[in-house]
Symmetry: C2
Subunit: 325 residues, 2 copies
């Protein structure tokens, strides 16, 4: 965005929408019907904001939008609503729809005019509870983008903490978390399994990834007895050190699929998230015989719009028409 743009979207602007996660912050200026008028991003996730100055980050990032269109409502989802964020938004309990999330919004004074509403995360109540913050908004966005998913869908959000989500009758019914991405990151950086690739210089290798997926798919007891093979295969000269991280990634994603697919053949998974990561999951799913999965790109702005409508922060009318007298 530059200064010249401000007048082009000022009249249509309806909502400042933020996906404020652990490691990154993305923001959109949304117009009528949730149309994206402008966007910006910064590596200023909750963990990266110096001294917790969330108000300062918010003020700088949204300054031009607020100048062009004063008084806009603002809505944020993600870890900004956690205990480590700006202010904690208590979890809503599953099953939940947009309305339930809308009634759970909390507010903070931005310090630069107006208030920021924050979407609560979701909790599964069970002997082993589960939680999400931010993904609930992407899920509602997916249902807004593809209304046919609302009746019965299995949504998958791969990532640091992958989520497998069951949607039924328009509600997020339940979900399960797999720490696949975080496990890969800590093993790569801090374990003996990451060392060969750290020393050799890792290069991507689709065959090594597929080998890891197939190995865990065919194992009686899953990942745990196989983990050390990411080292012994390299020692034995049977796996290139530079490809060993892709083999490890295959083991971990394969284990996620082995567990998540157990006993649940339908409906076909719909993936939401980073296109490169979704493509990796699609390759792994194909090795499990799941060939009808597909992926959606970022659905967070659509979800923020939907929740803002449900909460009455905006009305879901199209862009303003010239006034009729």
């Amino acid at each position: 965005m530059n200064a010249n743009d401000t007048n082009t979207f000022g009249a249509d602007a309806r909502l400042i929408a933020l996906d404020w996660g652990t490691s990154s912050l993305r923001a959109w200026l949304l117009g009528g019907g949730g149309a994206v008028l402008d966007t910006c991003a910064a590596p200023l996730g909750v963990q990266q904001v110096p001294e917790g100055d969330f108000a300062g980050v918010y003020a700088r990032l949204t300054a031009a939008w607020r100048t062009a269109a004063p008084g806009l409502p603002a809505l944020a989802a993600g870890m900004i609503g956690s205990a480590q964020g700006w202010r904690e938004a208590p979890y809503q309990v599953c099953p939940a729809d947009a309305g339930a999330l809308g009634t759970g919004l909390i507010e903070v004074d931005t310090g630069c005019g107006g208030r920021l509403h924050i979407v609560p995360g979701l909790r599964v109540e069970a002997a082993l509870p589960d939680v999400m913050r931010g993904e609930e908004t992407q899920i509602l966005g997916a249902l807004a983008v593809e209304p046919a998913l609302a009746a019965n869908a299995r949504l998958v959000l791969p990532g640091t903490h992958s989520k497998w989500v069951t949607v039924r009758d328009g509600r997020i019914e339940r979900f399960a978390t797999y720490m696949t991405g975080e496990l890969f990151a800590v093993l790569r950086a801090h374990s003996i399994l990451g060392r060969p690739a750290r020393e050799a210089g890792a290069t991507g290798d689709a065959a090594a990834f597929a080998r890891g997926v197939a190995t865990v798919r065919d194992a009686a007891d899953g990942l745990f007895p196989l983990l050390f093979s990411a080292r012994t295969l390299v020692l034995r000269g049977a796996l290139d050190a530079a490809h060993s991280l892709d083999y490890l990634s295959g083991l971990l994603i394969g284990e996620e699929l082995r567990c998540a697919l157990a006993g649940a053949a339908t409906p076909a998974p719909v993936l939401i998230g980073d296109p490169a990561l979704c493509e990796r999951y699609l390759r792994a799913l194909a090795l499990f015989g799941v060939t009808d999965a597909r992926s959606l790109d970022n659905t967070a702005p659509a979800g923020l719009w939907r929740i803002a409508v449900a909460a009455g922060l905006v009305t879901d009318t199209p862009a303003a028409e010239p006034a009729q007298c």
Copy 2:
């Protein structure tokens, strides 16, 4: 040891024996029949030796013994024989007994008079190979201490890389590695699962450990879908943050047992290693209904003696008797 002791064991001394692992070094002066005459230890594992000066460490640690009993043979097992150690001792292939290990010894010039022999590790040849270095010596020590184990035993060496070992007809037939200890260490230090205990200050709690073991024991798909519960139970107030590491430890050790015990009811496991860690495994085994397991303390010196005998470095006679004319 102090200077006054040197003359008390000089005449009986037969072997300088070392267990030189990744993080620690233990050494024994062994007499006739493998009797321990003296012992010392230092936090100078292969990764802790400055600039790879293994010769300097060896010279300092054994100086008094070599002075008191010049010309003793010396034998070391463990990671000192790896590519990161003093000199690499190529793996012997399973099945293997003390004789096979004895023929695979390599030698280094100690630089302080005499040579140090190094025990090779063991390798399982399979599509997914496996390796050990140091444990093979403890296993042979267990068979020396309890000869009845040689016919048919299941030995378990808990640790950073736990080993489950099948012994049959006096030979180490095969084994499998579980990265339980390393996984716990990296998750504790570097993942979101370690954070609550890092902030609250971890305290041991046997009930939390048992809860983790039982949770994974009763789970259809094992550990992977449960890992995040070490966080969500704390968030929910259903697990004390200070006890969350013991719960995580229970999940990990429980997963090791779930996999290793699958389809193998006999013989009863015999554990070898650190007594506190073995006791933890015994508690976990009992939760899996395995109540006839037991543990042995450090069997490394007995194993080093046995390999030295097999290699002809020493003769297996009792302590020297007064000379007969």
